[in-house]
Amino acid sequence: MHDLMIPFGPAHPALPEPVYLKLFLEGEEIQDVDFSVGYNHKGIEKSLEEMDYIKSIFMAGRVCGICSSAHSTCYTQTVEKLLNIEIPNRARLIRTSIFELERLHSHLLWLGMFGHEMGFDTLFMLSFREREYVLDSLELITGKRVVHDINTIGGVRRDVSQETMSKVLKNLDILKDKVEHLQNLVEKDPIIKKRTVGIGKLDKKDVERLCLVGPVARASGIPYDIRKTDRYLAYDDLGFKIVVENDGDNFARTLVRIKEMLESIRLVKLAIKSIKPGIIKNKVVMNFPVDEAISRVEAPRGELIYYVKSNGSNKPARVKIRTPTYANILCLNKILVGHTLADVPVSLESLDPCLCCTDRLTVVRNGKEEIIKLEDLHGHH
């Protein structure tokens, strides 16, 4: 029997996203956690199927506001696999640099949120200030700050001028110092250590059993990174190193993300420096075979999978997205139970959850699954 049930969400100051956690407490200690989503289902897989391949790239970029380019890159990559085409080297390097810049902005945003959950608002403000350098660089390259829309089938949509590249490199030099400063701050702050070390521990076996991905897996000592295993884009040429920590607690997850930022800065610099003149887009004949394709990328939050099935028309017959948070959210029970209520926001944030990506909806009426059609929804109004 539990003392108290605390509703955590769907609207809660700790989480800007709609998720409903039922926390069963005894005193301040968490005894059990129940989790439900479905407050913000956008039906994006269906809308991808209703657009042609070119338009749906932009829709894929709008699955998530933070890892926009991860989604559109993964989708484009899958479609390119379907068509069996290669992209030019220049386009590959531009995609890689956008991809890594996006990881930088995502991790800086995460670090800020992580500080905020611990009541450390200064860390939040600082990392959001440094994030501006990344957003500025993204704006210089793509013309947009948040949703980049640079991918298209066969290459990228915009070229990068020499001037832009030197500006971005300058931004990255400043950013490197700033990130090192943040790393120093996080590693030496006694209260951050007190709040995170030993909390939300996930050992290697848990990670393997629950199939966790991304920085969460790497913080528990598992060197699993799609950038290394799949060798997509230009990561193989750039000599990418996997960041691994062994403790598996909230502090280790913080360190993994901070070190990944430094690695990302190195990768972007290298990618931009090795961009050589050439075309940015191959000519593509949009002749889709009746086939299916699957492709993965390492989004800032972990492994992102896209599956596309084609029926020969100019629209995909089926698109399936497996977002990283969907895999990671399984460990909630493991990291929350046994700790106090004060650790809930910190542990939850340490997964870097993108709960809108995780939203799934199954309607069960009278014990049976039911399929809701668009007409039914209109009928309710």
């Binding site: 009541g119 209260i191 106090t340 004060a342």
Partner: protein
Amino acid sequence: MVIIEVFFISIFLSFIYEGIIRKVAARMQNRIGPPIWQPILDFIKLLSKERFEVQNSNFSLVSFLSIISVIGLITIVFMFPFVGILNFNWDFILLIYLLVFSTACFILVGFSFPSPYPLIGSTREIILLLAYDFPLMIIILFFGINYQSIQFIPNNLILSFPLLFVSFLFITQAKVGLPPFNISEADQEIAASFLTECSGFELAMFNLAKSLKIFVMVSLTTIFFFNPPNIPMFFLTSLFVLFIGILLRVILARFRIDQGFKFLWIFLLPLIFIDIIKVII
């Protein structure tokens, strides 16, 4: 007449102090921040808002507590040396009572609502009260035994009791609920804690009580450890104390309740005893 003047001046000053905290903290965090008079605007706006009576709650008690907590805190201002409305020997006992009273009002608010967030907030505040009130009482009683009345505290005690000053700063942070001790008001965990269900007039009064608490605790620190001879010096010194408080607020993350308790007892109590034993010997 003097009582009414002191009443309004202390309310005005507490808003200004709150505004200074917001502004300076914002500048430290590289933000622009709200104008210094923002708390006054917030207060006026909240007064114009609807009062929402929560079902199954003891709403009349909440309304009563919101007024009483403000009055209790202003009573402390009446004891300050240059105000001198309440001056008698052993007024330190009354001071301890009034300081606990203001916190007790907040705790009772949490228990008046059927919602779990205020409940947890109040429980945490009780634990925290236990943690910071013991060191606080030791310090105040120590001053009480030495000087008998707030009026008789000599100037610049900070030179003889630097460790007491350091501990008093941390206790102030805990008392007014600023980081690293904003445990009972941790909005990431328990929303707005005991004020989650309050609105309109009650919320305005409790916000005022919070600001008054900051004003009272900062002024007490100034009186205990500096006791400046005139009012301008008093404000300069209390701004200095306020600045240290803002610095602690900005550079520290929030403790967990057990860590906060350990910090206040295991770290601060020995510091306090070192300074006190020095006098006894």
